[in-house]
Amino acid sequence: MDELQMIATMLDEPPTPETETAVRHRLLKGMREPERPARRAWRRPALWSGFGLTATAAAVTATVVLSSGTTPRAPDPGRGPAATQPMSATTVLLTAAGHAEAAPATGKYWHVLRVQSRAFHNERGGYWMLGRQLIGQWSRPDGRSWTGYRGLGAVPMTAKDAPAFRRDGSPDPAPISPRFTKDTGTKTFLVCDREMTFKQVQALPADPGELRGALKRAIPRNHPTAGRTADEVVKNCVTDLLSFVPAPPKVRAGAYRMLATMPGVTAMGEVTDERGRKGFGLHVQVRRGVADTVIIDPDSSFVLSTSRTAPDVPGKVEKVLYLRAGWTDSDPRIPTLP
């Protein structure tokens, strides 16, 4: 008997039928769980779906304002002359980096308001729909965070899906009632799915090369959706840092500079999102079959929306529309669509 067999014998814990039943029950329960907001406030948008339904992406319409700080900016502040010129991804990212450095960073709470949409496939009816939630998050530097959720109902994915969706009674694949939760932990800031304290987020390096290393180390090894190469891992989560984590302006600038040098990041040019907001589109090939479209506002350096395509899912697998991201003094509550 060699030492590996001895180890196998020593550690052997044959599964019992009771154990198998208990685990199966837990799995089925988890699979059936409808679209529920992530417990942790700053979880990176992940690929997921409901039971018997499949996630895809969404189009949301409503005029929204991206604010940095407590004063909302005008919906379309008008873009400088540079915006009308064709810009390369590098130029835009470096411009955004410059504006990121100048962004204000004061207020009682770091606040992000977003509409998160995930498409569901109804196997029986053969149609696609979009489940939508409005999620507002407020976080204090000590880590305490508050999250308010409001379901926005579902809409058919495309005009083609509309008749079947209505025939089915316009179901909400993941209904939630308005709710408000509080998290008292200290590590409530998620960077690449690694829980960080505010201090750790502040300590992220601003140098693009060092930041790349830090993100690589942050993501849990073999994270199921991380990607296989360092570049894939970093591309998979760099938008987190830009869209919903209170990273210092210098770090945000570093993230943009890093993105500007990465392969697989291409410019889509000036785009207007479904709500009429003008921004600059970036196509980020995360890995084979998985690509993100990231729309940024180079003037404020904030991310307007992200959406992801994945294999075997027609359309988008998930989309997040950022309505506000910045520091604020207004207190947490269940949000309403502005």
């Binding site: 030492e3 020593m10 052997d12 073999n222 084979r288 998985v290 294999p311």
Partner: protein, 190 residues
């Protein structure tokens, strides 16, 4: 994706089908439950294993749309998820090896039984083995247990851990040398 009528669907086909129809995922679970459970329970003990095994399959279910069959097969993918989750329970794992080291000592106090010396059983070596296992680096232990408990090939282990094939061999050799060194001399040639 549908398999030919008389052929069982491949793992990747099952997983692909489960993207559209979540129910199909239970077939993946049925195929791998016993393997994953043996691996997780071996490392963390039966109590902690239930949660971690369920979490492994749930994590796989939730990220099934992102699974890319061209990058590797389902088996190492599942073991990779399980290994990550186990890494979050390092203290539980260490306590288990410490307990196993204890049990062995109690079972054979002093070794008065004459037969013990003659038939050195794996059980008798348990304390030394458990201690040696606990003393391995986390990286080496991952390789050893993916081999011993999960019986993965070198290629699969490389896939699970995201390390080169050659590194699997060198880690395994190094670890086995340490494990052998920790066992009493009389076990040579067993």
């Amino acid at each position: 994706m549908t398999a030919p009528p008389d052929t069982a669907p491949t793992d990747a086909e099952l997983l692909t089908a489960s993207v559209r129809d979540g129910d199909r995922f239970t077939a993946v679970y049925d195929r791998y439950y016993a393997n994953i459970h043996r691996y997780v329970a071996g490392r963390l003990g039966p109590q902690a294993a239930d949660d971690v095994v369920a979490d492994t399959f749930l994590a796989a279910f939730r990220s099934r749309a992102a699974f890319d069959p061209s990058r590797g097969s389902v088996r190492p993918w599942l073991f990779g998820i399980a290994t990550n989750l186990i890494a979050q329970h390092r203290r539980t794992e260490t306590r288990r090896y410490q307990a196993l080291a204890q049990v062995g000592v109690d079972r054979h106090p002093g070794g008065h039984d004459d037969r013990v010396a003659a038939s050195v059983s794996a059980e008798r070596l348990q304390p030394s083995l458990a201690r040696a296992l606990a003393a391995l680096s986390a990286k080496d232990r991952d390789v050893v247990l993916l081999k011993a408990l999960a019986q993965l090939t070198h290629e699969e282990i490389a896939d699970v851990l995201g390390i080169p094939y050659g590194t699997v061999g060198s880690r395994l050799n190094r670890a086995r040398k340490r494990l052998r060194a920790a066992l009493p001399a009389c076990t040579e040639g067993l």
